[in-house]
């Protein structure tokens, strides 16, 4: 069974189309990064998956309809909407008590153990904690829930680089066990590069790219071309070209690496470079239309 299955998922706010017919299938045990520019529809897609907004089209999360069965679904799904949503008046101890009270899959001992690794004190209120500590607290609460799907929407927004790194390390080491599924959106794409198993680019409510990281390695290559070979390289129709350190860096889609090796040093592009290339082409096509 797929963890998330969407077919023709649509959502509009007035005349603005936020999701324009999304088809997406996410298998269990994947870590999927949902990447797109501001206003691309990432949060709308996640909100639909979490049962926070109504939608058109077919959507099943763990076999359930999220809009009508949100409370049942939330036994198996957790999410961190963004770092600011923990109620500010709540004490750390109250958060632990409340979750233990209402959530059948919350393991208080595990949450306590995770919190023991931080400097967060039990009697503190959320409003007294720093932004980074609130994110640590929320992650500790969520990781102590034995859920099948974890959804993170910009979980590290506004955190410094130490906290961001810790956040993903902790998620990978203490939480991910290959039977769970994680869906994450973020603007800091470089940081999740090594975390992901799958990548989806979304722009103006449509999916622009949807493939696994292995596929990306096999399909995309970036070459630092020597000046004298630029013309030959351009003949192979790169999808993007940029300047770097006096070299032209060309990005190819589906061109044999052996063929490219002749032109210069080849490597797999970073997600951010791939994003710029794919999105740039997509938006110029969009403008041409």
């Amino acid at each position: 069974m797929a963890c998330i299955e969407a077919r023709g998922l649509r959502k509009s706010f007035g005349t603005t189309i936020a999701l324009d017919g999304i088809d997406l299938r996410i298998e269990e045990g994947r870590i999927l990064g949902l990447v797109g520019p501001n206003g691309a529809g990432k949060t709308t897609a996640l909100n639909a998956i979490l049962g926070l907004i109504p939608y058109q089209g077919k959507l099943r999360v763990l076999g359930r309809d999220p809009w009508t069965e949100r409370d049942c679904l939330m036994r198996d799904v957790c999410f961190i909407a963004d770092v600011a949503v923990l109620p500010r008046w709540m004490r750390v101890s109250q958060a632990l008590e409340f979750l233990a009270g209402v959530h059948p899959r919350f393991d208080r001992t595990k949450a306590e153990a995770l919190l023991a690794k931080t400097t967060i004190e039990r009697h503190r209120r959320v409003r007294e904690l720093s932004k980074g500590m609130v994110a640590q607290l929320h992650l500790a609460l969520v990781m102590a829930i034995d859920a099948r799907l974890l959804v993170l929407d910009e979980p590290t927004l506004g955190l410094d680089i130490l906290y961001r790194k810790q956040f993903y390390d902790s998620m990978l080491n203490d939480y991910f066990d290959r039977s769970r599924t994680i869906v994450v959106t973020t603007h800091q794409v470089e940081e999740i590069q090594n975390v992901l198993t799958d990548l989806v680019f979304i722009d103006r409510g449509r999916i622009v790219l949807n493939c696994s990281m292995e596929e990306i390695e096999a399909r995309y290559a970036e070459v630092q071309v020597k000046p004298e070979q630029v013309a030959a390289a351009r003949a192979l129709q790169p999808i993007n070209e940029r300047q770097g350190l006096g070299r032209n860096i060309l990005l190819f889609d589906g061109v044999d690496r052996r063929q490219l090796a002749v032109l210069g040093e080849t490597r797999t592009p970073s997600i951010s470079d791939l994003f710029v290339a794919v999105m740039g082409n997509h938006s110029s096509q969009g403008a041409a239309r």
């Binding site: 069974m1 979490l50 049962g51 926070l52 907004i53 109504p54 949100r70 409370d71 049942c72 679904l73 939330m74 036994r75 198996d76 799904v77 957790c78 999410f79 961190i80 909407a81 600011a84 949503v85 923990l86 109620p87 500010r88 008046w89 709540m90 004490r91 109250q94 008590e97 409340f98 979750l99 009270g101 209402v102 959530h103 059948p104 899959r105 393991d107 034995d146 099948r148 039977s179």
Partner: protein, 310 residues
């Protein structure tokens, strides 16, 4: 390959985390507790009012022996009038505080969580919108009357002890005092009056406020107050009548003439009050009000389901 339904339970019920089955009432219980964590004014406001009141009473009670000496102890009715007034004022101010607490609570209950976006946290937990709204509604319907009652009765008891000590210290008997106040009857009347006149009777008003707090994008107080005022004004201008305003006033202050058959001027917790619960329960006004309340609450549940954070 096994069918998914065969497979799933074994995969996800990993040992050690045998999912404790949570009964339907537990999320409700914890939702009510969380309201009390968040809104501590529900019990702090009446406690503070009672404390202030006790200080005032302490000062006034010093003159009690003099007052009692000037009275003919045979005239019990007159005796009570002199002695019991502070107890009635205490009950009355507790009712007023309870009303204010409920109003402030209801107007913010479903609005505050959207304003500070914490609704996204609450919605990430397996608690239904129905459970949440019912837990919030239980504050004005159960928690506030019970808190008001408990604090009112405790304060009355302290006042009686204080008065007795002063009277005994002045070499007088406190028996007439206890007899005229009749503590237990007064407490029961307070409880009856709190639930009949100040909880069930104005129920549509509380539910209207909960509904507005679930709906308003800003200024829930204005949205709750302006439409009724507009309707009353329209009626006044168009028909030169004020039935709507009168009806609202009667609901709000909880006049509820049907709760007891006592003449005007006698306080509801006066032991001479004759309560008429059968008449109260048989009055159509009560049941129409409760039906309207249920409709408002159902709408609030729907709105909590669909409204987004502000």
């Amino acid at each position: 390959m096994n069918t998914p339904s065969d497979n799933l339970p074994r995969v996800f019920d990993s040992p050690g985390i045998a999912p404790a089955m949570i009964s339907a009432t537990r999320p409700f219980y914890w939702s009510v507790r969380r309201e009390l964590w968040e809104n501590r004014f529900i019990y702090i406001a009446p406690l503070a009012a009672a404390a202030v009141f006790l200080v005032g009473f302490l000062i006034s009670v010093i003159g009690l022996p003099g007052k009692v000496r000037g009275l003919s102890t045979l005239d019990l009715m007159h005796y009570r009038e002199v002695i019991a007034t502070p107890y009635d004022i205490m009950s009355g101010s507790m009712m007023l505080i309870g009303l204010l607490v409920s109003v402030f609570y209801c107007l913010d209950a479903l609005y505050g969580e959207r304003r500070d976006r914490s609704i996204l946290f609450w919605k990430s937990l397996p608690v239904s919108d129905l459970t949440t709204v019912l837990a919030k509604a239980s504050i004005p319907f159960v928690v506030v009357p019970l808190v008001t009652f408990a604090i009112g009765v405790a304060t009355h008891f302290l006042m009686l002890l204080l008065s007795s000590a002063i009277l005994l210290g002045g070499g007088m008997s406190a028996a007439a005092l206890w007899k005229s106040i009749s503590f237990f009857r007064m407490s029961l009347l307070l409880l009856y009056h709190l639930f009949t006149a100040h909880t069930l009777w104005p129920a549509p008003i509380y539910c209207w406020m909960l509904l507005v707090s679930a709906w308003a994008r800003r200024a829930p107080f204005l949205w709750a107050v302006l439409p009724p005022v507009a309707i009353a004004g329209l009626e006044e201008i168009a028909f030169h009548t004020s039935h709507f305003a009168a009806m609202l006033g009667e609901r709000f202050i909880g006049s509820a003439s049907t709760t007891s058959s006592t003449g005007p001027g006698i306080f509801p917790t006066n032991p001479m009050t004759h309560i008429t619960p059968v008449e109260y329960l048989a009055s159509p006004g009560l049941w129409i009000g409760l039906l309207v309340s249920v409709a408002f609450l159902a709408a609030a549940v729907r709105l909590r389901h669909s409204r987004e954070p502000l």
